[in-house]
Chain length 476, copies 2
């Protein structure tokens, strides 16, 4: 009973006296990051000296080394690597060409194979193209018509959805599903309209996984301009395509999460995680996805340390490996936390681009959400107003399965899917102030959750996904 | 008494039954603009076929013709031009070179003269440089030390201010004031650190006006990288500068505002203005400043027309001329409205860049603000949450002086002052979705204000700035 009275008084003080002090601390965090923040410089190094860094690539090895150094430079009390065995998929050379109607010559368009797909062993796969505008339309097609053909899934990203992540969920199904459903009907290959809000010819790659029941077939994505052209040509008459690609999945490779922490002064055993993912797709520089999240997470450690804010609980910044095509780093972290029986107060992920913050998504019990919403006024000066969405992050989903409350930074979503998984996701397309405001939001959030807690912290539940720890399973 | 009961019932219905209908209309406006909007295509034409368009320039003439056509294409019931005599300032060639310490050679840096300033008639103005970090520091300098020198005002844009418009107000004083206060003490010229949040070498131009009491002296701006270099060199020892420029102010030229309107069905005599400015600085393409505002204002007309929404009051989209260096278009509009005794319900300006909307600033009586804040929930799905700031716009400030309630679209402010008044303010730096969400916000706002009104509309007061209409005065 007494405990609850104390909790009640804490809530009262939070809502009355404490907020003015907290707003000053929030301001000092903001000033520190906006004026002296290192995240933008860190991102320049990651993008320009290392570049893209798909799991299992030589650049991913360098990125791990970079992350370790950056975490040490930020002043973490302890920095370590956490092993995870990751898939190694290599793109190689790839071409897509079309022949329209009675044309004699093939015309090449820009293309990116969908990540994890098989290639053609460098040979030319040539077949007539059949266009469908939706999975529903594809389902109507006879198997006989599909067999041996290249199916073009011409599904557009819904530009009417203001939250582009809803649009991504919608159109993203085509990247995940189309190679499987096409193969199940005997298709020879798949072309998709990129999962893209862009009004350009930029192809977008991204992950897929073959179902155990289908024969893997090559699947490639084209940019919206080429997709418009292909749509018009398919309507006008016969189209033949040539897909040539060297994509291949190799054996699993040992890689690592990078972890840095500030040790808690009162409850060091209870942990707050803030993280992004260190791997990226193998085009561009992985600047927004998710270099931004990595440097922001490191900035949280640096800013708190620089301001002399010693947290009561342990703050861990985690650079997860292999979010893009396997999630092995996320599972490795979850497995380790479970094995060590580490109670986690919350995990927050930043993996939605380095844009101005607009909100923090919350996936947890209603009472914990309400405690966090009590901080709302402290975030408003930084443009953060939305605490109404259920959001977490892929890397922290294993923790979430074990009962850890999760949250996700929600930046402005308008530009993300123009750049996401493309050659244009480069440092130059990240704005220094937007990136820093994201870091400020995260640091403020960590500061407040550390100071006030979220109520009792539950021990980790079992993930219930079988006896072999997920991170040690064979990647496929 | 009866009237007030009706008003009361309207408010009640607004807060209960009507909002669900209104949210559907808002959604239809959003869908129309996000899916079929023309503003991004319009902006491409304005930026790429015409480019920058300083008042009095040949491009400004073309921009007026473009605006008229675009307004007609959008489906305005009536389109017309409104004369305004504008200054014609021409930059010509310009150079800034430095010699450091005992160096023999001069080193050239990128530079932009501040708008409206005098040049050197193409001759070289050579003088030692004295650096000051603030106006306060300058005020401490003896006149004897200043005389004949080039004063370098090394004042930085405050990156700690989250609302960059506050930072602009702060640092912008240096652009407006430094040539005047330096000349008053006998300086030969002025260099300022650009009014810029950029972490680059981009110089920013912008307006200034010589006080009647001082001798006009040349004043130029350098980018932040050059400014950092100059700061270091000034600290290290003697610096000499050469300014050479052909800037010149010519005679006033006849130009025009472009106005298009949808006639009101119930109260055509009462007017709602939505506008931006058609002129730009003479570098880049005036894409965010304020091509974005122009195409968004035209889009409001187009979207309402396309959706068959006939307004009760008259909706006017106004492309104002000469916001950048004279405000003659704004005054011409105000003079005309006063002469014709046109009651205005509200004027809203969009001149803060084509970024994602975050709020609508309101400068009006508290009761009118409260009516608008009653629409808050209708805007939240579009990321618009902030109705707490006093904002209007320069072009509508003459209307404001006559008692018209004014509002200003508040987009996300983080990137604006990286680009504002620079060669980088080009079409490529405007995002199609962000631009359209701004137009959606404006169209929704106009729809709601038209539907529910803001209470009684007052007749226009006198501007009280003398007997000659401002727009007919001689520009200086």
């Amino acid at each position: 009973m007494k405990q609850w009275i104390i909790v009640g008084l804490c809530c009262l003080s939070l809502n009355t006296f404490a907020q003015s002090d907290d707003s000053l601390v929030m301001r000092s965090i903001s000033d520190e990051i906006m004026m002296h923040g290192k995240c933008y410089d860190d991102l320049r190094v990651l993008c320009k000296q290392i570049g893209h860094r798909l799991s299992g690539s030589p650049q991913a090895v360098k990125a791990v080394e970079w992350g370790q150094r950056a975490m040490e430079d930020a002043g973490a009390d302890m920095v370590w690597l956490q092993a995870a065995d990751v898939p190694r998929w290599v793109r190689g050379e790839e071409h897509l060409k079309f022949k329209f109607g009675k044309d004699k010559n093939y015309r090449e368009v820009r293309v990116l194979s969908i990540g994890n797909t098989v290639g053609t062993d460098g040979k030319i796969l040539e077949a007539p193209v059949i266009m469908v505008n939706s999975i529903n339309e594809f389902d109507q097609l006879d198997k006989g018509l599909v067999e041996g053909k290249i199916i073009y899934f011409n599904y557009r990203f819904r530009q009417d959805l203001i939250n582009t992540f809803e649009g991504y969920g919608d159109a993203g199904r085509y990247r995940w599903l189309s190679p499987n459903i096409a193969s199940a009907k005997g298709a020879a290959g798949v072309i998709i309209r990129s999962v893209s809000t862009g009004v350009d010819d930029e192809p977008h790659t991204g992950s897929m996984r073959y179902a155990d029941t289908v024969k893997p077939i090559p699947a490639v994505a084209i940019g919206n301009t080429s997709a418009d052209m292909l749509e018009a040509k398919c309507r006008a008459g016969m189209v033949t395509a040539q897909i040539q690609s060297e994509c291949k999945m190799y054996d699993t490779v040992r890689s690592y999460n990078v972890i840095g922490e500030l040790k808690g002064t009162e409850h060091p055993e209870e942990i707050i995680v803030v993280g992004g993912h260190l791997d990226s797709w193998d085009v561009g520089e992985g600047a927004h996805d998710d270099g931004a999240g990595c440097v922001q997470s490191i900035e949280v450690i640096r800013a708190l340390k620089a301001l002399g804010i010693r947290p009561k609980h342990t703050i861990r910044a985690v650079l997860f490996m292999n979010e893009e095509n396997g999630l092995r780093g996320g599972f490795a972290y979850g497995d380790s936390a479970k094995a060590k029986n580490e109670p986690h107060i919350i995990a927050i992920e930043t993996d939605a681009g380095g844009f101005s913050s607009r909100g923090i998504g919350l996936d947890m019990s209603e009472d914990k959400k309400e405690r966090i919403r009590g901080f709302r006024n402290l975030f408003l000066p930084y443009g953060v107003y939305d605490f109404e969405h259920d959001e977490g992050g892929a890397d922290i989903s294993p923790l979430q399965r074990m009962g850890v409350p999760v949250a996700g930074l929600m930046p402005d979503p308008q530009r993300y899917f123009d750049l996401h998984h493309t050659a244009r996701d480069v440092f130059e397309n990240v704005n220094h102030r937007e990136l820093k405001i994201g870091a400020t939001t995260l640091a403020g959030f960590v500061y407040l959750v550390d100071k006030y807690g979220l109520g009792p912290t539950a021990p980790l539940k079992d993930m219930n996904i079988g006896s072999t720890p997920y991170s040690q399973r064979k990647a496929k």
